[in-house]
């Protein structure tokens, strides 16, 4: 069982760093088209920020990345991915063919880029949720 680590330096540094880590993770996800990055990397960085809060500040401080939410977040990410694949089937395209997504004012290559962005967000949610779920169960946090 990992509990909070009582040290002023660790507490202060964690509180200072975690917002920047999360903003950087969102940047990595959203900017994955143009620079190194994407759903896996951004989700892993988000999970790292969650782990930092867990092992340094302790359970009462974990606000949003709580244990019971993470498994649902993982499932939701997977559903976003699979659902983005299924939607084009109803509009006459193949499975996972993003150019068949029903998004107005977009077509062709731009539509496929948008589909990639949606899918990357789903991947990031799945990776974040599953990594934190695994950590919580390994460290005995769920009890």
């Amino acid at each position: 069982m990992i509990d909070r680590y009582d040290s002023l330096i660790v507490t202060f540094t964690t509180r200072l760093l975690v917002p920047f880590i999360q903003i950087f993770a969102l940047y990595v996800i959203a900017h994955g088209h143009f620079s190194p990055g994407g759903g896996f990397q951004g989700g892993a960085i988000l999970a790292a920020s969650g782990l930092l809060v867990r092992i340094s500040l302790g359970q009462p401080v974990v606000r949003w990345f709580t244990h019971s939410r993470m498994r649902w977040l993982g499932a939701a990410g997977l559903l976003i991915f699979a659902g983005t694949g299924i939607v084009p089937l109803f509009f006459g395209s193949a499975y996972l063919d993003y150019s068949g997504l029903p998004i107005p004012f977009l077509s062709g290559a731009a539509l496929r880029a948008t589909g990639i962005l949606i899918v990357e967000i789903g991947i990031a949610m799945a990776v974040l949720g599953i990594l934190l779920t695994i950590f919580d169960h390994l460290s005995g946090w769920d009890r």
Binding site: F34, S35, P36, G38, F40, V127, I130, L131, I134, H137, L138
Partner: protein, 123 residues
């Protein structure tokens, strides 16, 4: 001779890592050490593929410049091994998580992670 070495040394180094990982999996009796050996083996395979994607004088596979310029294939590293290894890294993390869960369950049941102790306990 030296050119041969330069063309091959990355593969040889991944071979060294693979042998270290295989030794961890075969020669150690502690299940945690076996898991660490498996992780080293996976890292060796990932490094092998990444070393195979290198092109002489090429840069990262991110298109620079505008839309309508002709794209020189030799100017960008092979993106396919990068994609495959990106998924392989995440799968290795998932495998490690499941393996650690198994190890914790086994430790709770048998009180040890040493293979002879567990085998003796099971009989």
């Amino acid at each position: 001779m030296f050119d041969d070495f330069l063309a091959r040394y990355a593969y040889w180094l991944t071979t060294v890592l693979m042998v270290i990982g295989l030794y961890g999996m075969l020669g150690k009796r502690n299940l945690m050490k076996k898991l660490i050996g498996m992780n080293i083996f996976q890292s060796a395979i990932i490094l092998f593929f990444i070393a195979g994607s290198v092109k002489e004088g090429a840069t990262v596979p991110i298109i620079q410049g505008g839309h309508h310029e002709a794209i020189d294939v030799a100017a960008y590293a092979n993106p396919l091994p990068h994609v495959l290894m990106l998924t392989a890294i995440v799968v290795s993390v998932a495998i490690t998580g499941v393996a650690l869960a198994f190890l914790i369950a086994m430790y709770k049941r048998h009180g040890s992670l040493e293979e002879p102790t567990i085998l003796g306990d099971m009989q």
